[in-house]
């Protein structure tokens, strides 16, 4: 997997993102330390209490964060496998898929599992289609996607609620929709 020189020139600089990952590790470490300070250290016979591991994890993550940042400052991550896929992200496609997942989370209890999942499906398909550079779909296509979503979600819903007695939200109490 040796990229040609041209590909190398076109390859994006991953270092800002890598730096962000390092900083992220430091932030998590700081949050852990802040929380650990509030945990009592009653040790009993063990010599270490419930705050021991939090401090260890916080310290370790802080060290990892510092070392990640050091690697970035000295030329970037070591032994990096070039990530698969395009050099640049397709943010519009991501936005569609994200909208699907988030709306599903927001609406599932009000409009029920089947409709909410069908909505998620239709939006995600739009996004994924956009990422392939195809037209994201006109009204007709959207209706088709929504129906496909219902056709997938409904049997799943019946299987889980009727056969496996797993609680999934519906609009009616009948357990069918």
């Amino acid at each position: 997997m040796n990229p040609s020189p041209q590909a190398n020139a076109a390859a994006p600089d991953h270092r800002p993102g890598q730096l962000a990952m390092g900083i992220g590790a430091l932030i998590v470490a700081a949050v852990l330390a802040y929380g650990a300070a509030a945990i009592p250290s009653d040790a009993g016979y063990a010599g270490v209490g419930p705050d021991f591991l939090p401090w260890v994890v916080s310290a370790a993550l802080a060290i990892c964060g510092v070392m990640l940042i050091w690697e970035v400052r000295t030329g970037g991550y070591r032994h990096m496998e070039e990530p698969s896929g395009a050099a640049r992200g397709d943010w519009r496609a991501l936005a569609w898929v994200s909208a699907g997942v988030l709306l599903n989370a927001a609406l599932i209890t009000t409009i029920g599992f089947i409709l909410s999942c069908a909505l998620c499906f239709a939006l995600a398909v739009r996004g994924l289609r956009a990422s392939e550079g195809k037209p994201i779909g006109n009204l007709r296509q959207t209706v088709k996607d929504a129906v496909t979503g219902i056709v997938i979600a409904a049997p799943v819903y019946w299987l889980f609620t009727k056969l496996l007695a797993v609680n999934l939200p519906g609009i009616t109490a009948s357990g069918w929709i």
Binding site: P50, F121, L128
Partner: protein, 500 residues
């Protein structure tokens, strides 16, 4: 020995009931399907189906889940050979030679060698599990908290330092997983930690949620963001069939692959990647001079047979530490463990006594499942290949629906769905910057267990950390941990020579 045999027979009686056979078949078929489909692995699938533990009895659901687990290894090879995008990480190496074989018109031979090799390795490995697991369990009963803690430390080290490219990134992922595991109520003192006053955090973060977010949702998001323009070309299928000379070349590779794969599965060194790479390197070195030229050019059948046997043997091998010690060494094993926990069953050395019916039925179902998978994957391979025709947008959007079922069905909380999305985003950046995700899962599930063992061990040692050095077993294990930290450098060199 006689005792083992009798219990195995009883296991066959349980596993052979029509309803359990049906569960085994459903698991194998579903496992093959998700193995073939890119984007869904056995871990996520089992995770999404965990809600069924509320309704289905333990033996049936464990048989079902185990079928998914090793079925995925059979199916994954099909995708590796035909599509060159491995369906599973364990079948990555298969793509090296298998795809080239398929390109030069020998797809059928590659598929046959992979399926039969998986069967041979899976069956031999199951025999080894049958023989050794009860012995190991008997021995493991004598282990105390210090030894357990060191074993878990070993699992942490291997999963984060050995797998993946960089020890630093592996450890970062591991500690992040441990941090997630801290959220909730401390097992020993019932102290509440890191809930930030959010009620949902009181019960801790479920492994299902993290696995589905980090793998399934991340996969869909990553695909939308980066993979839209990646074109995959599919190789032509032909009849799954091997010539006499291909048989002769395959079977020693199967046996060697099994011999390499099984031990790697059993020790807490986790994962199927290393044994498959090792097996590939071995086959390449041992290949007869007249076949050596096929490696990397037209595709050598040994390079498919060996790694395919190795990954199946390793997968079966991971059941040994899971069932005898309660220590998962792969992501899927971690989720199987949480399935057992859902039933209130404590995996560990006592399992062979307290739930012996379940364990032996599970082992018997492995024998049965391997036969089913051979049938599912040889004559019926054409059926599974059709799955690869599902258009990408519909496939990933559909995965999101199943992700919702798994996560929401777990405890009926829409909050979890938002969390799932957040973890999905995390999975995207982790993949982009080459952080391994398996350590997060293993850290999350083993972390709380390791913490409890450590504090119990320290209580035994009256608060002194010397307790870990004074006991011979735990001191040895600590030494092994050190060796494991050095070994990867050596393996990296091997890997380098295999790739060049």
């Amino acid at each position: 020995m006689m005792d083992t045999f009798n219990q195995l027979l009883a296991g066959f009686a349980t596993a052979g009931t029509p309803i359990n056979l049906l569960w085994a078949f459903a698991g194998c078929a579903l496992g093959t399907a998700i193995g073939v489909l890119p984007g869904l692995g056995p871990a996520v699938t089992v995770a999404m189906l965990l809600p069924i533990t509320g309704q289905v009895e333990p033996t049936a659901s464990m048989i079902f889940f185990a079928g998914i687990y090793y079925g995925a290894m059979y199916g994954g090879s099909t995708t590796s050979i035909l599509l060159n995008t491995p369906g599973e990480t364990g079948t990555m190496v298969t793509a090296l030679e298998g795809f080239k074989m398929a390109k030069s018109g020998r797809a059928g031979a590659a598929l046959a060698s992979a399926a039969i090799g998986s069967f041979v390795a899976g069956t031999i490995a199951t025999i080894l599990v049958t023989l050794f697991a009860p012995m190991l369990a008997e021995f493991a009963v004598k282990l105390g908290p210090p030894e357990y803690f060191c074993l878990m430390l070993l699992a942490f080290t291997t999963v984060s330092a050995v797998l993946g490219q960089s020890t630093l990134r592996g450890l970062t992922a591991l500690f992040f997983g441990l941090a997630l595991g801290l959220i909730g109520i401390d097992q020993i003192t019932a102290q509440v930690r890191y809930t930030g006053g959010i009620l949902e955090f009181m019960d801790g973060i479920e492994v299902v949620l993290v696995a589905v977010g980090l793998f399934a949702v991340a996969e869909a998001l990553y695909n939308a963001l980066y993979e839209g323009r990646s074109e995959a070309s599919m190789n032509k299928m032909n009849k799954a069939h091997m010539t006499r000379s291909e048989w002769r070349r395959s079977w020693p590779a199967w046996l060697r692959g099994t011999a390499i794969g099984f031990p790697f599965g059993t020790i807490p060194a986790g994962g199927t990647e290393i044994p498959t790479f090792l097996s590939y390197a071995t086959e390449r070195k041992l290949a007869a001079p007249e076949h050596k030229a096929e490696f990397g050019t037209t595709g050598a059948i040994e390079g498919v047979a060996g790694p395919e046997a190795a990954n199946n043997a390793a997968v079966t091998g991971t059941l040994v530490p899971l069932l005898t010690l309660g220590i998962p060494t792969s992501v899927t094993a971690a989720i199987l463990l949480s399935a057992l926990q859902n039933y209130g069953i404590n995996a560990g050395p006592q399992l062979f006594q307290t739930s012996s019916a379940l364990v032996w039925a599970l082992i018997a179902s492995l024998y049965i499942g391997n036969v089913m998978l051979l049938v599912l994957n040889l004559p019926m391979v054409g059926l599974w290949v059709k799955l690869l025709k599902i258009p990408r947008p519909q496939l990933y959007a559909g995965i999101l629906i199943f992700a919702t079922v798994g996560v929401y069905g777990m405890r009926q909380s829409a909050f979890d769905l938002f969390l799932m999305y957040g973890l999905g985003l995390l999975g995207v950046v982790m993949r982009r910057y080459d952080f391994p995700t398996a350590p997060v899962i293993v850290g999350l599930i083993l972390g709380p267990m390791a913490e409890a063992q450590m504090r119990n061990a320290l209580s035994i040692g009256e608060g002194s950390f010397m307790v870990f050095l004074q006991r011979p077993m735990s001191a040895t294990l600590l030494a092994v941990v050190l060796v494991v930290l050095v070994l990867p450098r050596l393996l990296a060199r091997l890997k380098g020579s295999a790739a060049s």
